[in-house]
Structure formats: C-alpha cells, structure tokens
Amino acid sequence: MLNWFKRRGKSSKSYQTNEEWISAIKPPPEDAAILQLRTFLVKGLKASLHKYVDRDLNDFVEDIAQDSLLKILDKYDTFRGDSKFTTWAMKIAVREGYSELRKKKYEDISLEQYSSYDPDEKEAVEIEHDQAGPDQVTHESMMLNKVQAMMEEELTEKQKKVIQLLMIDQIPMTVVSEMMDSNRNAIYKLVHDARMKLKNRLEIEGINPEDIFNQM
C-alpha cells in the first residue's frame, strides 16, 4: 500500500524548480517529468507554429515534441541554470520545429533543381522599372555591374553559390545548409566573410556603401 501511494504521489508530481527538473530527467528519467515536459512543449509549439502549419498541426507538433525531448534528454547536462529549465527546453523545441518546417517545404527538391546558379553567368540582370527615368536606370545598371564585378573577383565560388541560393533563389538557410552538407552556423559565417570582403573592397575603392544605397 505504501508503495502504491509512493507511485501515485510520484505520477502526480509537478516539477517547478530547475533542480527538480534536472534531478527528474537525468537517467533514468521519471515518466511524470517526461509527460509534463512533453505537454509543456506541445502547448508552446502549437502556439508558435499554428500560423505556419496548414493541416495536421497536432501530428506535426507531437513529432517535433518527441524529437525535441530526445535532444533535451541527451544534452540536459549542458543547461547552465541561467534561465528557467523550461525556457531552455522550449528553445530547443522551437528550433527543431522551425527547422523541420523549412525542410518540409523543400523536401524532394534537389539543389540543382531549385537553384538558378550558373557559375558562368557573370552579368547582372537587366533592370526593369516602370517609374524610373532612363538616367536612373542607367545609373542603377552601372552600380549593379560594378558591385557584381567586385563580387565576382572577391568571392569564392562557394560564397557566390550560397548568396545566389539564399538571396536570389530565396531558399532558407536551414535548407541550403542541408543541401550543401553543412550547418546553419557555417553558412552564416560564409556569408559574413563575403560581406567582409565586399566591405574591404569598397573601402579600397573609396566607395561609401551608404552613398550607393542612397542613390538607388
């Protein structure tokens, strides 16, 4: 009878403090803690994902919560205690959810099918404006070609390809990183390095980027 009460007491336990959470989810994790955490993640994910998922929101969120739980259990010991444990856990679930959402949209499409990247294409596209006068169009064309030429000279093939995919083809960074067997952080850094190269080149050429922007 005492054991029954103990078990019953355990299953209705509510975890509040970080210490309670950590002690409950370290191996072997308590079922009641997993259940409470899963319920928490599902609620939060539904609130933040409902605008983006047209159908089967419940199934999608359940899957994400499950995958997130595995990740949380796997790296609970990296939690530094600098926030509520549940905020840290939700952060992991939200990233999982949005990454999956972005990938889902592009599944079954290969990089080659989706990208318009052509390494031999060195010219900027023609500019079409309804309202701009001929002087404005000529000026913008010159500016485009100048920056395009700088990028062709300064950036690596990989940087150019990634910029094309992200900015022109508008493929999400999560998807680009997967397509290129990389990760989001590395892709972000690659583009950052490209921006640095362009910034330095503009400085050498004595061109103020704000002036270019204001003239466009």
């Binding site: 928490f40 900015m167 980027p209």
Partner: protein, 77 residues
Amino acid sequence: MKLNIDVLKKIISKIPRTHENEIGCDECFDELHTFAEMELEGKSPEKVMPLIREHLDNCGECRQEYQALLDAIKLLN
C-alpha cells in the same frame, strides 16, 4: 550569379553594419533563452548582449525562432 537591384540593395544595406566580431547562429542560440527571459522581464537584454541583438537583426531564421520562443513562453508562464 546574377544580381538584381533588390538583392543588391539587401547586400549593400548590410555592409555598413558588417564587422569582424559578429557572432554566428550557434553563439546566438547558446544565449537565446536568457535573452528571451530578460526581454520578457523588461530588462533590456540588448544592453548586456548587444551581439545577440545584432545577430537577430541580421539573421531572419534566428529572429523567427526567437519570436516564436517569446510567443511560447509568454503563453506558458
């Protein structure tokens, strides 16, 4: 690569704010939970973590996840 005027504007607009010490998505993610809690408590996290704020301004995907985290936490707390 073929630029068009919108893409060019996007690239050029980021150049003045580009610098060597920018952080990436991983470093941003490492601090995102504390940044979110500080923001919800009205503690101006951008003052103590300006590089996180800057990354969120620069990176659409991290910004989207941050907003989603705020929405979820607001609802649940």
